[in-house]
């Protein structure tokens, strides 16, 4: 595979240079005179003397074209499927595409967005999405931090506990949805039986549209707080031991020490964990679909992700679904954009 790529590159170079071999130092007289002396990176073994590729190398960096063989094909594949598809999705959202006849790209307008803004279902889904993302992220962060601090207190069998806490994350949403359907079962579920021993309930967790969203948040926290723990643990381990000591010498209590000295130093971990959790929450589609084995999630849990898929694949309102998808995408972008900028300004991009 790599051999094919590299020979293709050599051939490409030859073609661009008009038949010269890769290692030839001298080409047409004109080129030797113009850029022969400035060709970048003599050591690289690819010091051509002219041609478009070398001029690119000169401008961007000596390895640009040589490394392009490696990053360009994956970049193009990813770029087409991600950014190409999003652009296409946006165009489709401007059409009136529905049913089984293909989209008509000659008549573009924002009608679908107007329709979405006036659709009570979309507004409810947006609110639910927002509630789900914010509450799930906040609770999973707090819970994961507690887990990380406990596991970091020099306990025995630390690895075993960590493995158990992270275990649910290795499971599919489809699998965990089955577990939690059973946990929340009205007559025989663990949750109602435990609450029954202290005289509460039974509660119809899935059927009551007022509380089902919180039941879903709880299940998702169960599944992903182990992830937050792992991120925070890495953050805690990166804090120099002296900081813990220094706080103790000052006479601070353990709680105070964590709150004043340690937690502020976990800002980086918090930000990256929060971003990933928010994205998990936006992807909660799989979980909600599996709860009911269908496109219509339990009343009170419809989020934009489920609404979009239902509009597209259940009733074939393709353009409308695309418009909802763009709204969801913009929500995601408003989270990722600042994060990328933050990474860039820290010099980590």
């Amino acid at each position: 595979m790599r051999d094919i790529l590299s020979s293709t590159r050599t051939r490409l170079r030859r073609a661009l240079r008009g038949g010269d071999s890769d290692d030839d130092a001298v080409t047409d007289d004109g080129r030797v005179a113009t850029d022969g002396g400035t060709a970048a990176g003599g050591a690289a073994g690819a010091a051509g003397t002219g041609g478009l590729l070398d001029r690119l190398d000169e401008r961007i960096g000596e390895d640009f074209t040589e490394s392009a063989v490696f990053w360009l094909p994956p970049f193009l594949l990813m770029g087409l499927f991600v950014y190409g598809a999003i652009a296409w999705n946006f165009v489709i959202s401007l059409t009136d595409y529905q049913g089984f006849v293909g989209p008509d790209y000659s008549d573009l307008d924002f009608e679908m967005y107007v329709r979405a803004a006036n659709d009570a279902g979309v507004i409810e889904a947006t609110v639910n999405t927002f509630l789900l993302v914010v509450s799930f992220t906040a609770v999973a962060l707090a819970f994961g931090l507690v887990l990380a601090i406990l596991v970091d207190r020099d306990i025995r069998f630390e690895n075993t506990f960590r493995t158990i806490y992270l275990l649910p994350m290795s499971l599919s949403f489809v699998v965990t949805a089955q577990f939690w359907l059973w946990m929340y079962n009205f007559n025989n579920g663990v949750v109602n039986i435990l609450l029954g021993t202290v005289g509460i309930g039974p509660i119809n967790w899935i059927g009551n549209s007022q509380i089902v969203l919180w039941a879903v948040v709880f299940a998702l926290v169960w599944q992903f707080s182990g992830y937050t723990m792992v991120v925070y643990l890495a953050g805690l381990r990166a804090i120099p031991r002296e900081h813990f000591e220094a706080a103790r010498v000052d006479g601070a209590s353990t709680l105070k020490m964590y709150w004043r000295v340690i937690v502020p130093q976990l800002k980086g971990s918090t930000i990256s964990a929060a971003i990933v959790l928010m994205v998990f929450a936006l992807k909660a589609f799989d979980f909600l679909y599996s709860l009911v084995s269908g496109y219509r999630p339990p009343n009170g849990t419809d989020i934009l992700a489920t609404k979009m898929v239902r509009e597209a694949y259940s009733v074939n309102n393709w353009a409308y679904a695309s418009a909802i998808a763009i709204i969801l995408f913009l929500m995601a972008l408003s989270i990722i954009g600042p994060y990328l900028y933050y990474q860039y300004s820290k010099g980590e991009l």
Partner: protein
């Protein structure tokens, strides 16, 4: 919480051994272990309850025993496991057919991309936007690409290209498996690239620089130096990617669409399992959940550390 026991706890961790274990068993340590064990119960209860339920008869055993109690003799059965394996068996094969190739290809491409964007010497100013596009692509909600994805696979004459397969007796529905491979590779590249990039930035630059000075080409350095030392990272990426692809429902639902299709992945069949007019067969659902989760559970038990490393970065 007073200061004294905390200090005790710290010391017991700093030194190791039986003596400290005994000395450390004060109120603070007891509370700590109680919390840790309580949390263990919290994380394992849904799984334990599912496991014991899968061995119960339905509806008698399921409704007349406590959900977390093991089945008593008269309600014990292996029947649900047999049914689950029968229903999900072909789904397991189908899932493996796309999850394994997609995992390997996306890891390789991710490694290529990461190498080309870290070790190569070109201006950060031009690299940054390309990196940003890779990183942002990890976080895209897939709903934003679904309709074009359906359009795209609807217009690609994949079925004609693969005619030899159908002649050889493969059901035509398996175009869905090919589509799933390409789709999962395309959307898996960004995370693989970012995981490898984190690793490659820590690789000693002198070693690579020295090789370049000796006249090795960029590709040769990858083949001879970078690829061999990437083995631990390949383990992390392969495990993470396999789990993600095996567990994903959305693409399977969109590209294969019905659980009755011969090419239906296991998650798609599981999502509709145990649903009938008479009500939900929870024993069957639980057995099915474990069967479907088995490959990822095995991977997790064997390679838990690599998995943790994958999710942490």
């Amino acid at each position: 919480m007073s200061d004294a026991p905390t200090t005790d706890g710290e010391q017991s961790g700093a030194l190791a051994g039986v003596r400290e274990d005994l000395a450390g068993l004060d109120g603070y340590r007891v509370a700590l272990y109680a919390a840790v064990l309580g949390l263990t119960a919290f994380y394992l209860t849904p799984i334990e309850s599912g496991l014991v339920t899968a061995f119960k008869t339905n509806p008698e055993g399921v409704s007349s025993t406590l959900p977390f109690a093991p089945p008593p003799g008269e309600f014990f059965t292996l029947e649900k496991w047999e049914t689950a394996v029968q229903a999900l068996g072909r789904g397991m094969v189908n899932s493996a057919l796309y999850a394994v190739p997609a995992t390997v290809i996306s890891a390789l491409l991710g490694s290529f991309a990461a190498y080309g964007l870290t070790q190569a010497d070109w201006r950060a100013r031009y690299k940054a936007p390309i990196l940003a596009m890779f990183v942002a692509a990890i976080f895209i909600p897939y709903q934003a690409v679904l309709v074009p994805l359906s359009q795209f696979w609807g217009s690609v004459p994949l079925a004609e290209v693969l005619t030899p397969l159908w002649v050889a007796g493969v059901p035509r529905a398996y175009t869905g498996v090919i589509e799933l491979i390409v789709t999962h590779v395309a959307y898996g590249i960004p995370i693989c690239m970012v995981l490898f990039r984190g690793y490659y930035t820590t690789v000693s630059e002198e070693m690579i620089e020295a090789a370049r000075l000796d006249g090795a080409t960029f590709a040769r350095v990858y083949r001879r130096i970078v690829f061999p030392i990437s083995t631990p990272m390949f383990a992390v990426v392969l495990i993470y990617q396999f789990t993600q692809i095996w567990n994903d429902l959305l693409f399977a639902l969109i590209l294969v669409s019905t659980e009755s299709s011969p090419a239906a992945p296991v998650v798609l069949i599981l999502a509709g399992l145990g649903e009938s007019q008479e009500g939900q067969d929870f024993a069957l659902r639980m057995a099915g959940a474990f069967v479907a989760a088995l490959p990822t559970l095995i991977v997790y038990v064997l390679f838990g550390d690599e998995f943790a490393e994958g999710v942490a970065s």
